[in-house]
Structures are given as C-alpha cells and as structure tokens.
C-alpha cells in the first residue's frame, strides 16, 4: 500500500503519456489499439478493458476505483487508504479457517472497540481503570478473532503463483490495485481480484491501522518534505478536501473503525465505480467470458454522488514558514481548473517549457546561470486532477541561498510567461516530446493498463489517451500567455518554505568535528 510517495510524479508521468497517436509510427496509433482492445460494460456497471500485447507470456492488470481520500467522510481522513490496506487481508473465503465463526468474533471486536472509544472520548469523567479494562477486553476480542485468521493468505496465493510488483496506491482521487502475472494464471487472478472487490472481510483491521500509522510517520511526520507538503496543502485549500491530509490526520486515522472502512467499501466499490484493465498475452475472445463470470459478482449499486464542495476563489496570498534544523526548501502553488478544462494541455505546455530537462527555463535560469538552486521545477495538477488542483513549483536552494531568493527568481520566470510569448522552438519541443513520450509508454504492460483504466474512468473512453494529442497540437503561444496571466497572480498563490534554524546547542559546538 504504497500511498503517494510523490503523487505528482505519477501524475506528471501520466500527463506525459497522455497524448495521442504518433503519426509516423506503424503499430502504435489509435487504429492499431482499437484492433487490439476490447471493452465491455457488465450488467453490474463494471467496465472491463482487455488489450492484447502478446510479447511475452505475461499480463498486467490495473483495477481503478473512482474513489480516493478526497472521498473520506469528515472526521475520517485516511479512510480510503485504510480500506486499501484491508483489501490485502483476504475475503470470506480466503484468509480464514471458518468465516462464520470469524464473523461473529469480528463483531465482538467492533463492539469492544466501540466501548473503549466511548470511554476514551469522554470529555468529562473518563474512568482510567474502566478504560484499561475496556482496552484489555478489546485486545482479548482481537486475539479471539485472530484464531480464525490465516495471515496474508490472499497475497501468499498471488505471490506463489508468480505475482510480480504486487501493490496498490491510494491517491486523492482514486485507488488503484495492480500486479503482473504469468498468463496461465489469468483465471486465478480474476478469482482473487474479483473476490476482494466483491467480498472483502474486515480482518486484522486494528493491527493494520498501526501499520498505517507507521506509514504516516515514515512519509510525513519524520520527513521534512512530507511535513512541508502537508502544511502547504492545508493552507492552500480552505474548503475542498484536497487540503486535507491524504494519509489522514493522526487523531482521525487512530479512530477509524473496521465498520467505517466496510461502509466506505459498500458505497464506493460498486460496479459503476470500477474499471479493470488487463494488458498482455491475453486473447479477448477467451478471456472475456471468464472475466465476465468473475467480475460479474461485484455488486451493482448506484454510482456514488460526486463531491459538491467547490473551493472558493482565493483572494489573499498565503504563506507557510517552517523554521527547523533541516535544509531550506521552497514550494508554491496557484489554483487551476480540473482535468476537464479546455486549457488542460496548456498547463502541460507551461510545466514542460518551465521544467523539462536542461533546456527548461527554470534549469537554465536558476540552476545554470544564476547558480542559486540545485533543482527547480513546476508540476501540475497537484494533489489531484479530478477537482481543481494547483499548479505547483518548487526550488531546492544551493548552500548559502535562501527560500526568499527562490521566490524572487521563480516569479521573474513566471513573469516572462505572462509578458512575452514562448518561442516557436519551445512550443514545438513540447509537442514533439509529448508525442514521443506517449509512444515510449506503450511498450509496458503495467503502465498501459494503468493508463487505459484511468482514461476509461475519467473520460468514459480509453481513446482519449490518444485523442488528447489533438489538444496538445492545438496549444498556441497566445493560450500560454493567457493562462499564465490568469493564474500566476499573487492573490492566487500559496507559498511554503523551510528556513534552516540552527540547533540550540550548535552555538557551543565547533562545527566540523570528524
């Protein structure tokens, strides 16, 4: 359950892949994919995509759930991610010695947890002795339920059958499960994957919650950039859930219950909310009946209502200054529209010209010529694309340079986008690279499965992966200048930085001891 290491890296990668068919290529255009791709919507609403790529006797899959941490109910941040962890714990058939008995035991765990929480959360008159007893009762119930568990059996069966790269991630907008396998395990995979989608069991939940708390400590609490990014987003957004910790605020994660995770599953893991893409040595004519049989087991359910909160227009510049004993860092973001915006490709053009490689403006200006930064880049959208996100830019100062200098230098570069057209060469380079990078991604089963599932889910048609290149080709210099002027204004900006603070004891130390 990798959750967002650098979620935007993945996004940026996809954006590079976006685009469309490369006209010069033989078997890599939309037409060739149309011949190799079969799409089917099952009666329960679930969409299957099969892409035949028989280069080697293997396949990869991507199960794309159109729900992520943005859908966590209020007070339950981190819930989508908690369920993702639960999805590796097995089902009513796998991972248990006796589901009927285990189910009863798990109900007792929930009751014991509720009783403990009720006492723990008492504002007045909490009885510590009673609390300790309730905690013991909870632990006893957990131990009782554990007697029926065959730990990690679900993943064990997958791994023993050759699963490679088995993992999942929860992003703000979606939850994605994936691995690769030898092609002769297709039916086994279909059974495993459809089972956990349709038939998850709330097993070992509270232990796993401890594991997720450790994941948070690793990614966020004990990581300077993790801390900065969490505060940055919380400041940039006042209403929308993009401002909320995706892995969850500690107090909220600590109180998520198995019941809540299963409620989330019931609401969001319904056919209409799921796309499953399979790419590799698979024949659609043989595989489709099989996949229909297994994935047809998933409950239908209505497509969950979309979130209706809209981030209000920002009207005041916001800043976050962290002073601590780590090296300086600078990050800023400007609100921009969601992925459906007609200007979506214009944002991609700006971030490409700003950041892609040693020809990019930020590299040449801040790194090569001014020699004030080790690295500087813009990326967008962040932290998600389904709802209006941010166009973010960061810079890593060289020794002796400050975050404030980064801000000044970045704004000078931004002003150039606002006050002058990009060059013909820059614009053409963006279009050429976007095309080539789309092509480069087509020879990878897992990458292709992820893209097809995402585009099918987001646009209702995987072809958009290719058709988007038309939008890229239509981007003009005037578009770039217009969009830059629209969003790169101080009142739309949130900046966050780390300033290095000397340790209290440092004054006494004579730095440089070996």
């Amino acid at each position: 359950m990798r959750t967002r290491v650098f979620p935007w890296f993945w996004k940026c990668f996809l954006i590079l892949l976006l685009a469309a068919a490369f006209t010069g290529a033989r078997a890599q255009d939309l037409k060739s994919f149309e011949q190799r791709i079969t799409t089917k919507v099952l009666p329960n609403g679930l969409t299957l995509i099969i892409c035949e790529r028989p280069e080697a006797p293997v396949f990869s899959f991507s199960t794309f759930i159109d729900a992520g941490d943005v859908n966590d109910p209020s007070g339950q941040s981190g819930l989508a991610h908690m369920f993702e962890h639960l999805a590796f714990k097995g089902t009513t058939q796998i991972g248990t010695t006796n589901w009927e008995a285990e189910k009863l035991a798990l109900a007792k765990v929930e009751a014991a947890n509720d009783a403990y929480e009720a006492e723990y959360l008492k504002a007045v008159g909490r009885d510590e002795k009673k609390l300790a007893e309730l905690h013991k009762a909870f632990k006893d119930a957990e131990a009782e339920a554990h007697k029926f568990v065959i730990p990690n059996q679900f993943t064990d069966v997958a791994e023993r059958n050759g699963a490679e790269g088995l993992n999942a991630f929860t992003a703000m907008d979606e939850t994605v499960y994936f691995w690769s396998m030898p092609e002769n395990r297709l039916e086994l995979w279909a059974w495993l994957e459809s089972s956990r989608l349709a038939d998850a069991a709330p097993r070992e939940f509270y232990k796993e919650r401890d594991v997720v708390n450790e994941e948070r400590r690793m990614r966020t609490d004990s990581n300077p950039t993790g801390r900065l990014v969490e505060q940055f987003l919380a400041t940039a957004y006042v209403a929308h859930n993009y401002g909320r910790s995706a892995i969850g605020w500690p107090s909220e994660v600590q109180q998520i219950t198995a019941t809540e995770a299963m409620d989330f599953h019931k609401k969001y893991y319904v056919g209409a909310n799921v796309v499953v893409a399979v790419v590799g040595d698979v024949k659609a004519s043989e595989a489709l009946p099989l996949l229909e049989k297994y994935f047809g087991r998933m409950p239908a359910g209505p497509k969950p209502e979309e979130m209706t909160t809209v981030e209000p227009k920002q009207f005041a510049e916001k800043t976050v200054a962290i002073r601590e004993q780590t090296q300086p860092f600078f990050l800023e973001g400007y609100h921009r529209p969601d992925y459906r915006s007609p200007d979506s490709a214009v944002y991609d053009a700006i971030s490409d010209i700003m950041s892609n490689g040693r020809v990019s403006r930020l590299y040449r200006s801040l790194v090569r010529d001014q020699k004030i930064a080790a690295y500087a880049a813009g990326f967008s959208p962040f932290p998600g694309d389904k709802y209006p996100g941010l166009f973010a830019i960061y810079a890593v100062p060289l020794p002796g340079h400050t975050p404030a200098e980064m801000g000044v230098a970045l704004h000078r570069e931004i002003d150039k986008f606002k006050n002058a057209d990009v060059t013909d060469d820059e614009l053409q380079m963006f279009k050429t690279r976007t095309r080539a990078d789309l092509l480069r991604g087509l020879a990878d089963n897992q990458g292709l499965a992820n893209d097809l599932a995402e585009y099918q889910s987001r646009y209702g048609d995987w072809r958009e992966l290719f058709l988007e290149l038309d939008k890229v080709d239509k981007v003009t210099k005037a578009d770039i200048r217009r969009v830059a002027n629209a969003i790169f204004v101080p009142s739309n900006r949130t900046s966050a930085w780390i300033e290095t603070e000397a340790p209290a004891a440092a004054a006494k130390k004579d730095g440089g001891a070996q």
Partner: protein
C-alpha cells in the same frame, strides 16, 4: 528490497505451516480448483554478441515494436577506484562529461539539438562503472549515435560545468542529514565495510572541492582504454547496425585488462550504535553485517533463505513485525550478494519511537530464528514457488534480456548464469537451508544501528542489554576555506 513499497515489503509466517491442519482446515479452497494451463511457449530473444579484435564486446538486440533506438556503453572503473582525497570525482565526471559536450558542440547546444527531437544522451558515474546512454526515435538514430560517439571519444571538460556539478554535489552533501532513512542507510554501510572503504565512504565538501578539470580528463583517458561493452536495443537493421558499431569501435586500441582489486573485507564491529535525530517520531533500525558475492555456490540456497526471511507477505519478518505486531510499515531483511564483492547482510524496520526496543528484539529474534527455528517443507515450497513462478519477469522484455547479458559480460559471468541460478534454486532442500543458515548467520557478529529521537525512545536502548549505545557523529565537516563560489 525497496524500502518504500507498500504492501509488498516483507512477511512471514508460516501460517500454513504452523497451523495444524486438523484445527485450521478451511472448508474449501476455491482457488485451488482453478486450473493452471500450460504456459504459452516462450523463448526469449537473445541479443547477438560480437567480440571485436581489440576486445570490445557488442550486443545487438532487435525490438521492432516501437520506432526507437537505445544504446549503452559500459566502461569499467568507478567511484570505488577513485583517489581518497578526491572522493566524488567519478560522480562529478558523470555529470560534467555530458553537460560540457564536445569541441564541435558544447553541452548546452547538444541539449537544444536533442530535446527538439525528443532524444536523449546522458552519461553516468557509478560505483563500478561509468558510461554513456542514448535514445531517440528511429528517424534520428544515425545522427544521435554519431553525437554519442563524438561525446565518447572527444569530450571537452569545462570548468564551468565542473563548477555546476560541484555545486549540485555540495547541495546533496549539506542535505544528507535531513532524511533519517538516508542517514541510516549510509551510516550502516559504513559499519559494514568501514568508514573509509571504497564501498561506503562518502564525498565531503573538501574532497569534491579538490577536483579539477584535469582530474576529469585524466579519468576519461584512463578508463576509455578498458573493456568497453556496447549494447544496442530497438528498431534497427541488424547488419547495418553491426557495420556501424564495428566502424566506430574496431579502430580503438586493444583493451587494457582491469587491474586486480585488493579490497579487504571484515565483519563489522558488533554492538549497538545510535544517532539522535530530534525531528522524527519514528526510529530507523538497521541490523547489518557482511554478505557474500554471486560466485559463491551457496547463493541459490541463500536466495531461498532470503525469500523465507523477508521476501514477501508471507515471509517471517513481514508476518511477525508488520502483520502480527503492527510495529512497522517498512520491514525487510536479506543476506546480500553482489557481483564481485561481498554485499550486505541487512535487516531493517521503521517503528515509532516507543516500540524501538520491541521491534529491534522482534527483528533480531527472526534473524536468530534462521538458525534455531527449523525451515519447514512448506516454507521451502512457498519460497521456491515465489521465486520460480515469477522468474520469467527477469526476461519478459527484450530490454531486460539485453541488460542481463550486459551485466554478465561486465562482471565476467557465463552467459547461461541465469539458467544455472534457476536450476540451483530448484535443487535447494531444507537441509541446504539449515546448512547455509548455520554457516552464514551469526547474529553476534552484527552491528545494530538505531537512528531516532533519543528522548522519545522509551523504554530506552539499554533494555537491549548490549551496553551503552555508541554514538555516531554525523556532523558534516565544513572546509576551513568555503569552496562555494560567490556570485
């Protein structure tokens, strides 16, 4: 093993093995009723190997799926061979080589030319090699190859680009204590190999500051005479490509043999080491010792042992430390083997400050268990299934097959190494596991490093009964005369 992958980090239990089947029989195992058909026939395409008269070796791997051509030139010699007073020179070389460019076309102009074609040429400097990489659309392949060749044979090294690389490197040095995982990995490697070992030493501001343009030129002239290995992959005509590569490389002088290495390796000084970091709420625990190399005939048995110890969700460490105890998200362990020198025996776990001692004990118990808790037939079968059923992912793309051959050639292994390794895995028995565990696993020889928030670690590390933890000073030495240039 990756530290940050999620779900798939480590595990173990032997749940099936330990659970008496009469008590824990599942009513049915529907997945076992699902047939496993015969795998489609598959003979991975092998690259064509050509050894030139001067000793340079070429590998050609056709792949016509996409209209790209990609290539690599591997050059023996890397940071482990650099002068101790100039640690970091190879890394600087790897950057400045490409950014400086050639007499005909400087690095910036090269960037402009290539990026307009969505093409890439890059250079690198690693522990045991340097090299050059190129990639372009087929239509640009001839031009990009000749640019690559020019950069390989006629580089200029500019003071300005060295300066840029030095500043980048300096930024990495001053930032190296910000992330506790980075600290733990680096400092534990020093415990394994020794702080001054070519396999663990680190660049300092003073050592990178001492590097000159002449050092880069000298490095280039010296290593270019070594045994170059060239690999090309993609959409090309093999006869034409072979002719082109021959024309380019046959004219070079006969390769000089690599000098013998005289590294010395010893077990770490056992004990408990500690690095205090006040801005974290999680401890990074590393338990480390010396591993072995791939020439060791016990490697297949060790690979199976590693799978049982830390290889997947069902491994012992994952099952105990993560699933059962909930102590860690990231936990792993393996007895490492490198191509031509001993790897590291390393177990790690990241846990909240308060469970540092318990998680350390639990991890150590699993290491001890390798010699005290007999390997079961079920564990052996699972580990073999895990390794063998996913084995084809080592060669499911033509690029992976090519890279396997490049590695083997570079390190002097026979080209059928992967097959004999696989055959070795198939033959491993529980007796082999017991034997290698007794031979290689000596927990008393291991060093334990904890990086964490001292005041928060309660119970304290003294509970481990290993004496007072020895502090490691990670202060970054600042040169007396700051090397950074003023604007």
């Amino acid at each position: 093993m990756k530290r940050i992958s999620g779900i798939s980090m480590v595990l173990a239990i032997a749940a099936l093995a330990l659970a008496p089947s009469t008590l824990h029989a599942q009513q049915s195992k529907p997945w076992e009723q699902i047939p496993t058909p015969k795998l489609h026939d598959f003979k991975p395409q092998q690259p064509k190997r050509i050894e030139l008269k001067n000793g340079i070796v070429l590998f050609l791997q056709e792949d016509h799926e996409l209209p790209f051509v990609t290539g690599w030139v591997l050059i023996p010699g890397g940071s482990r061979d650099e002068d101790a007073a100039k640690i970091g020179v190879v890394s600087l070389y790897g950057q400045a080589w490409r950014t400086s460019g050639t007499a005909k076309l400087n690095g910036d102009a090269l960037d402009d030319l290539l990026e307009a074609k969505a093409a890439h040429i890059s250079t690198w400097g690693d522990e045991d090699s340097t090299g050059i990489y190129w990639n372009s659309l087929k239509q640009d392949a001839d031009q990009v190859f000749s640019l690559t060749l020019d950069l390989l044979l006629h580089p200029v090294f500019s003071a300005d680009k060295l300066d840029l690389a030095q500043q980048q490197e300096a930024s990495g040095i001053v930032r190296r204590n910000d992330d506790e995982g980075e600290i733990a990995g680096r400092e534990s490697a020093k415990l394994v190999y020794g702080a001054n070992s070519p396999y663990a030493r680190q660049p300092e501001l003073a050592t990178i500051g001492a590097v000159t343009v002449d050092d880069l030129k000298a490095w280039h002239d010296r290593t270019l005479g070594g045994k170059l290995i060239v690999g090309v992959l993609g959409d090309f005509d093999p006869a034409a490509m072979e002719a082109k590569l021959r024309a380019a490389f046959e004219a070079l002088p006969a390769v000089k043999p690599e000098p013998e290495r005289h590294d010395s390796f010893a077990d770490p000084k056992p004990g408990l080491y500690f690095i205090d970091k006040e801005d974290v709420n999680q401890s990074n625990i590393e338990i480390v010792g010396l591993g072995t190399d791939r020439h060791n005939p016990d490697v297949p048995a060790l690979a199976v042992m590693n799978e049982i110890l830390g290889g997947g969700f069902a491994s012992r460490l994952f099952q105990k430390v993560r699933t059962e105890l909930g102590f860690a998200y990231a936990v792993s362990g393996s007895y490492g083997y490198d191509w031509d020198h001993p790897g590291e025996f390393r177990a790690m776990a990241m846990t909240k400050s308060a469970t540092t001692v318990d998680a350390t004990k639990a991890t150590l118990a699993e290491l001890n268990g390798l010699t005290t808790k007999p390997f079961t037939a079920e564990e052996l079968a699972r580990a073999k299934d895990n390794i063998l059923n996913s084995f084809l992912f080592k060669y499911d793309t033509r690029s992976k097959v090519l890279w396997e051959h490049l590695h083997l050639e570079f390190n002097g292994y026979p080209s059928d190494y992967l097959e004999s390794y696989k055959a070795g895995i198939e033959k491993v028995t529980t007796a082999d596991l017991d034997r290698v565990a007794k031979k290689y696993i000596h927990p008393e020889k291991l060093a334990i490093l904890v990086v964490g928030n001292g005041p928060e670690i309660k119970p304290g590390l003294d509970e481990l009964k290993m004496g007072a933890p020895q502090p490691i000073d990670i202060t970054i030495p600042m040169p007396k005369q700051p090397e950074e240039k003023k604007q």
